[in-house]
Every structure is written in structure tokens, then in C-alpha cells.
């Protein structure tokens, strides 16, 4: 059941993170936050999440870099965790890069109604 599913949200913009968390929690997910890439990587190591939501434009470490570190060179890291990019970067170049680095989804924040996000996640986990 969705109730038992855990999500790690790596996002430097606190209000945005809290907003999505509220919607996701309403849909029965348990959400943890990391406000930068390094913290996110550490938290992913400590606990097995069903899904990681990953912003791209973050200081120090970008979401794409975090994605590469999570999946590793052969793309097989964290096989039981889905990773979805949640960004406002609409460039196809970035989207393709995420696909190559074994992301499971690429969602543009401004183009999705937040309650739709829970629906999309529901299809993945």
C-alpha cells in the first residue's frame, strides 16, 4: 500500500519541498527531505527509499551529478529505488541525459498540477 512507501525528496528550495511533501503525505507517502545533494546521498545510503525525487538546479552538486553517483557507472546502483527528476529545466538535452543515467522519470514542475504528481508516482511505486 502507498502508506508504507517512502520517498526521499532532494530539493534546495524549502517552500517547494514542503509544498510537494504536503501533497504527497496527503496521498499516504512518507517523505524525508534533503536540502542539498551531499545530504541526499548520505540519507539514501542510510535508508532504503522506494523513490527519490531529485531537483536539478542545486548549489554545489547538481541533481544530474547526484543521479550519476546514485546509479553508479554501470547504472545499477540502488536497483530497488526509483529515481524521478523533478525540475523546471525543460531542455531536452537534460531530459535525455537523465534518461541515459537511468532515471525512471523526468517531470517538469511548472507543467504538472501537484496532485497529478502523486498520481504519476503511484504508477512507479
Amino acid at each position: 500500500m502507498a502508506g508504507s512507501k517512502t520517498i526521499l525528496f532532494i530539493e534546495d528550495d524549502k517552500p517547494i519541498a514542503e509544498m510537494y511533501a504536503r501533497i504527497l503525505e496527503r496521498n499516504g507517502y512518507q517523505v524525508d527531505f534533503a536540502y542539498n545533494g551531499a545530504d541526499g546521498l548520505k540519507m539514501a545510503e542510510d535508508k532504503q527509499y522506494d523513490l527519490i525525487l531529485l531537483d536539478i538546479m542545486m548549489p554545489e552538486k547538481t541533481g544530474i551529478e547526484v543521479l550519476h553517483e546514485l546509479r553508479g557507472e554501470d547504472g545499477s546502483g540502488y536497483p530497488n529505488t526509483k529515481i524521478v527528476i523533478l525540475t523546471n529545466l525543460a531542455q531536452d538535452k537534460t531530459s535525455q541525459e537523465a534518461l541515459k543515467a537511468q532515471a525512471d522519470g523526468y517531470i517538469i514542475k511548472a507543467d504538472i498540477v501537484p496532485s497529478q504528481l502523486a498520481e504519476v508516482i503511484g504508477k512507479l511505486i
Binding site: R22, I23, S76, A90, I107, I108, D111, S115
Partner: protein, 525 residues
Amino acid sequence: MQKSIRIISMKADQFRRQTLALFFIVSIVPALVVGAVWYLFTQTSRLNFLFLDFDSFVLPVILVGVIPAVTLSFVFAELLARPVRRIRDAVLELAKGNFSTQFRGHGAGEFHEIGVALDSVATKLQQTISEAASETALIAAERNKLRSVLGAMTDGVFALDHTGRIVLFNKAASELTGRSITEVAGQLAEKMLPFRSNGELVMTRWLANQPGTEHKVGQWKGLELYRADGTSLYVDVQAVVLNDDPNGIATLVTFHDLTKTHQLEEMKVDFVALAAHELRTPITEIKGYLDILNHEAKQLNKANREFLERTIASANQLSGLMHNLLNVSRIERGELGYQPEHLDYRKLVTDVVGDLKLRAKQQHRKLTLELPPLVKSIPISGDPTSLREILTNLVNNAIEHTGPSIGEIKVQVAVNKPNVETSVIDNGTGIPAEAVSHLFTKFFRVGEMKSTTRGTGLGLYICRAMVEAHGGTIWAESTEGEGSTFTFRLPMRTVASVSTADDNKEHNQKITRGAHGWIKDNSIH
């Protein structure tokens, strides 16, 4: 002229000598006769005429005949030669260009007639020369005019002969290219002025394919031209093939410098992209919290609920606008990101229209889909995100321009090999005939609709760019008051390309794309 004058002057001397000789002969004969008569008269008493006294014969002959005869000869010869000499001098003056010289009056009789004739020759000569001079002045004036016009033009102008060599090069062309007229004269245009589009010499190639004598005009926008110093210009170029005169100008080329406009355009596009992107973060938050409010605010009264719904609609519209602006900036930067995939168009249309049905229902419009009944799948090579956007834009427009409850929209797909045609047909307000041809231009909005509907005038522009990126075409037909039909035609995938479908670079990963991004189906790592 000089030669003929020399002949005239030689003839005058000869004439004088001949006249002198003639007079001498004519005078000496009567002198001899007179001398003989005089002798006989003085010697009759002796009756001895066989033995002539030399002294008494010669002296009277000399005195009475020879001396006056010789004198007269000289006088007459001189009288005759003088007008001839004068005419010779006058002709020499004429040769120097002095047309005021008078020939007549230098003698009587035939000499007068010759003088009059020569006077009229001189007058005619003067007329001809002055006419030629004024014509030369006219030509010079025209040449100066042409030079001033070409020199004052801000557009570069140059002309080529039949071998493609530069035969004319104006000041602006020299300034724009950083090359002097002497440097380019007689050189091949493709060497000195290589206009390129994506590295290709488009104008040279076009000119090579223009045989015959017809006037033809070639136009190119945004070509790149490298200056002598290695910097480059963005220019619009127009070439006219003349071909009239095999020894004259074969091609006339004008080019307009758009470098600054191009830079400004780039800045504008960059700014739009940046602004639209920066605005996306706050709009995401606005939409998110409105969504939370809508779900969680249970105690709102009816009016407040409506306000909230209106705010949500406006926020959605704002994010749609920014989405379109970003798309336009991507189109204009050539970053449309067209990622073709092998897909079944029948399935894609079914999915998209299925999603749109919900929105149509909310807006109280009837949306139906009509697929070709006997075709199981429609293979095409296309970018699913773009195709979804095209369909969504057209259906949303139809919803906007039909009335609630009475609005009927039909999406009709027809296979017309080698193409597939998709029409979005509505029974709405229709579009005035004069507006139909402008529908697909940027920021165009039909006049009277500006006040009744919200929109940016970007949707159809984006649709056209996306359809064209697929190698297709889009058009509209409309009758005011009856409705509109928007149709786009996409090329279907050929059998040859179907066989390579398994080489899909996405490694057979199934991906579901939506308006908001993509997710993998059943992804397993």
C-alpha cells in the same frame, strides 16, 4: 584630317607651278610673234630676211614679249594660288578645331563656291562634334548619378560577369566586407564574398543552376559572410540573374547587414528563455499551494470557492503562457529538441484525445475521435512530446472558440499514403477569411477574438514549427459562423525504416510521455 590637309596644300603649290608654266608658254608665243613682226617691219627696205640680225631681233622680243609675259605669268599665278593658299590655311585652322574660320570670300567664282561648301562642311562638323560632346557629357552625368546612388546605398551591391567574377562593387559592400574595390575586382565571388548557410555556399550553388536568359531572383535570409578580418556578418542576400548581355553584367547581388538585429534577436530570445524559466519556480509554488488549498479548504463558501477556482484557472493559464514562451524561444534558438521515435500514431492520438476529453467535458464541449477503421496501426517517426503539444493546442483552441454545451469538436485521422492527415474540426465561431493566412504567424490573434478569448497568439506558431520539424505541413480552413478545420499532414514511416525500429536508441525501454515530462513503464534495474 591632317593628311588630307597636307594633300590640299601640296595641290595648291602644284597648281601654282602649272599655272606659271602655262602662262609662260601662252605669253612667250605672242612675244615671239610680236618680235618677228617688229623685225620685219623695221627691216623691209633690205629685203633680206634670211640673214637675220640677231641683236635687232632678240632685243625687241625680250622688251616687248618676254619680260611682260614673265611678269604677267607671276602675277596671274599668284592671283590664282592665293585663294587656294587661304583655303588651305583655313582648313588647317579647322583641323586645329577652330570652327569660326570663314572659307567664303577668299576668291571669286569657283573659289567662292568651294569656300561656301567648305563653310557648310565646317558648320556640320561643328554640329556633329558638339552633339557628340553633349552626349558624352550626358553619359558622364548618368555614370556619376549611378556612382552616387551605389555609393550612398547602405546595402552592399556587387555585380558579376558570366564567369562569376566581380565587375562592380559599391562602397557599402567594401565597408561591410572589409575588402577594397581593387582587391575584389576580377576575382571570383565565391572566393571574396562567400555567403554561407550552415557552411554551404548557397548562392554560388543556386547561380550554377540558373541557365537560360530569364530574369530570376534568388533570396536568402540570415546567411553568414566572413569579413576580411575573420569576423562574420549576418546578411540577407538577393541575387538577380540578368543574362541579357553576354559581355555585360550577368548577376546583380545586394546584401543587407542584419548582424546587429541578429544579436538583438538572440538577446531577446535568451532573455525570454531566462525570464520564462525564472518565473516557473514561483508559478510552481502558486499552483502547488492553490492545489493544496483546493483540497484542504473544506469550509469555503460558494463565492470563495469560485474565487479559488478562478485563481487556479489563471495560474494554469500563466504557466501555459510561460510554457509557450519557452517553446518559442527554443524554436527561435533552433533548440526545439525534436527527438524522433518510431511510434504508432493511432495509439498516440487515442491517448492524447483521451486525456483531452476530460478537459472538454469540464468545459461542456463534446470531443470525439474518428480513426480510420481498417488501419490497425499508423507507423510514424516523430517526437511524442511535440505531437502531443500540437494536438493539445489545436483541441484547446477549438474549445476556446466554440460555445459551452453546443460546442462539438471532432479529431479525425485519415491515412492518405504516404502521409497521415489529422483534422481538428469544430462548429465554433469560425475565422474571417482575411485572417486565415496569418493564423500561423507569431503573436497573431484574430481581431474580434482578442477581447473575448485569452491567448498569446503563440500556439499555432508553435504548432507550425513542430509540424514542420516533422517534415509535415499544417493549414486551416474556416467559414465564419460555421466553424473551422485545422489539418496537419505528417509523413508516415516507410517499410525500410520499420525494419530498423528495434534499433531504437532508447534500448527498448518503454516510456510514457505526458505534457509534463516522461516516466518509464515497469522499469527494472
